[in-house]
């Protein structure tokens, strides 16, 4: 069923949020910054997971969450002290719960051994401390075998009619029988009718006596409704017991005086009757007993008898009106007296006889007090009709936000949930719109319209609108990196445990937003960097103490925006890269020449070379056997860069940078040897037309550009891509001064610049393959494909093509 499946999706989303809350709370407890509400929040998170899991029949999840919840309840009620050891246990318990959730989501099997071990541990805490618990403590034993009420929901399309008593076993239709007056409170159907009613094949006859206390009404229960419920069980014969009704002057407004005896004929168990009174247990006097045998069945099949029965049913029901506040003495007294003349004096509850359907008051009784009577709602027909759902506050707030543009005050949940596919589709469409708009602009320009012409100006406005729409749509899809970051504390715990290190994770910049296309690609490299930082970066506690550092190492994970890109930094305060060792390994593995001269930075970055692994025994922790070279390659494929900087003895910092989106890009459109190329704007420091004297020859073919007081190598784009053999004279073209990720500068030479443009990124790989030096493709205004240059790769290609020191190649 779709709706239920949708809620299930919501449930798992909510589980993620709850588990994040849970972890935040537990970490606060661990850091000693938690308070009672922190513990409460953790309890609620586990409790909610369990509640939802129960609704979906996720039995294993419910059972485990129940044990967890039981321990949290003990902690919450301070029967178990939240000592550090317990908090660490709870953190691991939360990890196991997260695994259980994942298993449930993918219909997989959770790690039963781990779960069982965790349960044993949790129960140890529960029982170890629950002994001192007060007597009213909930049962502390909450093992996996403990019975848990369990009722997987089986939603079937139901035509539930909550109000109108639908046709019962006898085919009775609810009818409103107007009873003109109230002469006999002990109204009874004729004995003949009763006999017929009692005539169902072998039904039992139950005698139910029921006398509410005033508490029953104070809790908003209604005697009438309970009697109506009894009526649903079978045929009833109701007698009002008004013997306790005092004189008017002695009557108390908030007291209950009336009782009923119901003779119920139905093929049911006593429990079914008890269930009706479940909510009012203790708030009334209640006796239930069998009332002899059912009368002989003679006329059951007689149509006339059936008709009679129909006429008699539904049986009269006592319909007390909820407590009516004492009327205002002055003006209401007269009215009250008038009414009392017509019916038995009673203020609260006022019993009255009415037909089954809570129809309008047939007695003309109108409450005199202005205070609301718990008025019975309108006719059941209206209630049963499908009514539009009242707009939830969140939706209302969202609508208000759309209308007013201002954030609604105190919106509890000002979010809407949208299928991500719809947004993706929208982004694709906006991409097409951008391309079409550019095509149109180009056509208009080709037809020689002046920029000041109406059509050109209109197009300008269209372009701005298009751009705004694109920005807006991209913003919808933007997500904070929190979703990725919050998975990392667990990874750190696990890796630290596996490597016998002590590690603390500090995160920063969780709110940094980036397009969903990038978020999805962040997790893997961050995981690798963190594993590497703990496995290779951090020393063992003993080594750290010896080095004068705290036993616990710190790993910092930070996100920030820099230069139109997102930068992720993973730094540790470990030993730093052992450069002599790295160098030796690189030499041993033939990655560099033994006499290669490398800067420290170049040495550090050797770890990204294919086939490099500093661990003499290949550890499965640092990237599950995947080397940093694979990480670098996958990052580069996204137009990203990864590098490492290290200070011996002090630690290392991985820096990963990625574009903010993989959907669009701001680029400089350039002409190169008759081709049109796009150079990402983020790479360009400046573009210039160099003077002849700023270009200096260097070596047989190379040349450099004098930029202020430094010399930057000139790279002819056309030559790099093989569009031409001989570079053009740089002073006849345009130079784009670029800086690659590692900080090296280069001057790219193009023939001419067309201008800056936002372009939609199109994959080359989906139908072809990756091309070295090309990041992706795009579609220009003329409908043709243009290539987007990967400037770092171009610089690398140029270095390689030059017959230079092989070190440069290797170190790249």
């Amino acid at each position: 069923m779709d709706e239920l499946e949708e809620i299930k999706v919501t449930f798992f989303q909510e589980c993620d949020e709850l588990m994040a809350d849970c972890e935040v709370g537990l970490l606060a407890m661990e850091a000693g910054t938690g308070d009672a509400e922190t513990i409460n929040a953790v309890f609620r998170a586990v409790h909610s997971v369990k509640g939802g899991a129960g609704a979906f029949g996720l039995e294993a999840l419910v059972r485990y969450a129940h044990v967890f919840e039981t321990l949290m309840e003990e902690v919450r009620s301070q029967r178990v002290v939240a000592e550090p050891e317990l908090v660490r246990c709870l953190l691991r318990a939360a990890d196991v719960l997260a695994d259980q959730i994942t298993a449930a989501r993918i219909h997989g099997r959770p790690n039963e051994a781990a779960t069982a071990a965790m349960v044993v541990e949790l129960e140890g805490w529960i029982t170890g401390h629950a002994g001192a618990a007060p007597a009213d403590a909930p049962p502390a034993s909450a093992g996996l075998d403990a019975p848990i009420e369990f009722a997987p929901v089986a939603f079937a399309p139901m035509a539930l009619d909550p109000i109108a008593p639908a046709s019962d076993d006898f085919g009775f239709q609810p009818m409103t029988i107007a009873i003109p007056d109230l002469p006999d409170l002990d109204f009874q159907p004729s004995q003949a009718v009763m006999d017929i009613l009692a005539d169902a094949p072998g039904p039992a006859v139950w005698l139910v006596t029921f006398k509410p206390h005033s508490d029953l009404y104070a809790k908003a229960n209604e005697a009438a409704l309970l009697l109506r419920e009894l009526e649903r069980l079978g045929s009833v014969e109701t007698t009002l017991d008004e013997s306790d009704l005092p004189d008017l002057e002695n009557m108390e407004a908030e007291s209950a005086y009336l009782g009923w005896t119901v003779r119920l004929t139905a093929e049911i168990e006593e429990a079914a009757i008890r269930e009706v009174f479940e909510f009012v247990d203790g708030d009334c006097e209640l006796t239930i007993c069998r009332d002899g045998a059912a009368p002989e069945s003679e006329a059951a099949a007689d149509p006339i008898a059936a008709l009679l029965a129909q006429a008699a049913a539904p049986m009269p029901v006592i319909d007390p009106i909820a407590p009516i506040p004492t009327p205002q003495p002055a003006d209401a007294a007269a009215a009250l007296m008038a009414e009392l003349a017509a019916k038995p004096p009673s203020e609260t509850p006022i019993p009255r006889l009415a037909a089954a359907a809570p129809a309008s008051d047939e007695f003309g009784f109108t409450p005199t007090a202005a205070a609301p009577v718990a008025s019975l709602p309108d006719a059941p027909v209206a209630l049963a009709a499908p009514a539009p759902v009242e707009m939830a506050p969140a939706a209302a707030a969202a609508q208000a936000a759309v209308k007013g543009g201002a954030a609604p005050p105190a919106a509890s949940q000002a979010t809407i949930r949208v299928d991500p596919e719809r947004i993706d589709k929208l982004i694709d469409l906006v991409g097409e719109l951008v391309i079409n708009q550019a095509m149109l602009a180009q056509r208009v320009a080709e037809h020689g319209f002046a920029p000041s012409s109406n059509i050109a100006m209109g197009l300008d406005e269209l372009e701005q609108l298009t751009r705004s729409i694109q920005d807006g749509v991209m913003a919808i899809r933007a997500q904070s990196v929190k979703s990725v970051f919050q998975r990392m504390p667990r990874l750190v715990r696990e890796v630290a445990a596996q490597t016998r290190k002590q590690a603390r994770l500090v995160t920063d910049g969780e709110a940094t937003e980036v397009d969903k296309t990038v978020i999805e690609r962040l997790s893997d490299p961050i995981t690798h960097m963190l594993r590497n930082a703990i496995d290779h970066g951090l020393e063992t506690p003993a080594e750290r103490i010896e080095a004068g550092k705290p036993a616990e190492g710190t790993v910092r994970l930070a996100a920030l925006h820099r230069g139109g890109r997102i930068v992720i930094e993973v730094s540790d305060d470990g030993r730093g890269i052992n450069r002599p060792r790295v160098r030796q390994i690189a030499i041993d593995k033939n990655l560099i020449q033994p006499d290669a001269v490398l800067t420290d930075e170049e040495t550090d970055n050797l770890i990204f070379l294919p086939g490099f692994s500093t661990a003499s025994v290949v550890s499965d922790i640092s990237g599950r056997g995947v080397g940093m070279d694979v990480v670098r390659r996958s990052v580069q494929a996204l137009g990203g860069r990864i590098s490492i900087a290290s200070r011996p003895g002090e630690g290392s910092t991985f820096t990963l940078s990625l574009p903010l989106t993989l959907a669009v890009l701001d680029g400089m459109v350039v002409d190169v040897a008759g081709h049109t190329l796009v150079v990402p704007l983020t790479a360009i420091i400046e573009s210039l037309r160099p003077k002849a004297d700023e270009v200096r020859a260097l070596g047989p073919q190379g040349s450099v550009l004098a930029v202020r007081d430094s010399y930057v190598p000139l790279i002819d784009i056309g030559c790099v891509f093989g569009f031409r053999k001989v570079p053009i004279a740089p002073n006849e073209g345009v130079v784009l001064l670029i800086e690659s990720e590692d900080g090296t500068r280069a001057a790219l030479v193009a023939d001419d610049i067309q201008g800056q443009r936002q372009v939609v990124i199109k994959s080359l790989e989906s139908n072809y393959r990756q091309v070295e030096g090309i990041a992706a493709a795009t579609i220009l205004g003329d409908g043709r494909v243009a290539l987007i240059a990967d400037v770092d790769a171009m610089v690398a290609m140029r270095r390689r093509a030059a017959p230079a020191d092989p070190v440069l190649y290797a170190a790249e």
Partner: protein, 155 residues
Amino acid sequence: MSEHQVQAGSDRREFIAFCIGEQEFCVDIMSVREIRGWAPATPLPQTPDFIRGVINLRGAVLPIMELATRLGLQANEPTVRSVIIVVATGGRTVGLLVDAVSDILSVTQGVIQPTPDMACDRVKTFVRGLISIDSRMISEIALERLMPELDAIAA
């Protein structure tokens, strides 16, 4: 070219036949997505000679393979008569640049003869079988063998 027809005779297959120079080739019609006129492609660097470049096919970037070069035949510069047969194979969509479309064939499987064990490797690699109609000989291109090469170069 309705699917109904194709399925009507269980061993009946339909092909799009086209010319490269003097020779005739064909591809299974089920692989063909559309046939377009020639439009200049954007050349790609670092790419084998049989890839002419990429074109925009309704927002997707489509590589264009010059089939003549791929088959080791003399390639002519594309003219207005040249066409691009857009085929889907191995999860990719690729445009095949050929001189002209010549026919739509409907043949029974039995008519297709195995490629003679002869001559050039390329023929054996890319030609699945030969169809003889009247006095024409039409070679069926094994599309899936044109493409894996792409992965090989990509590595």
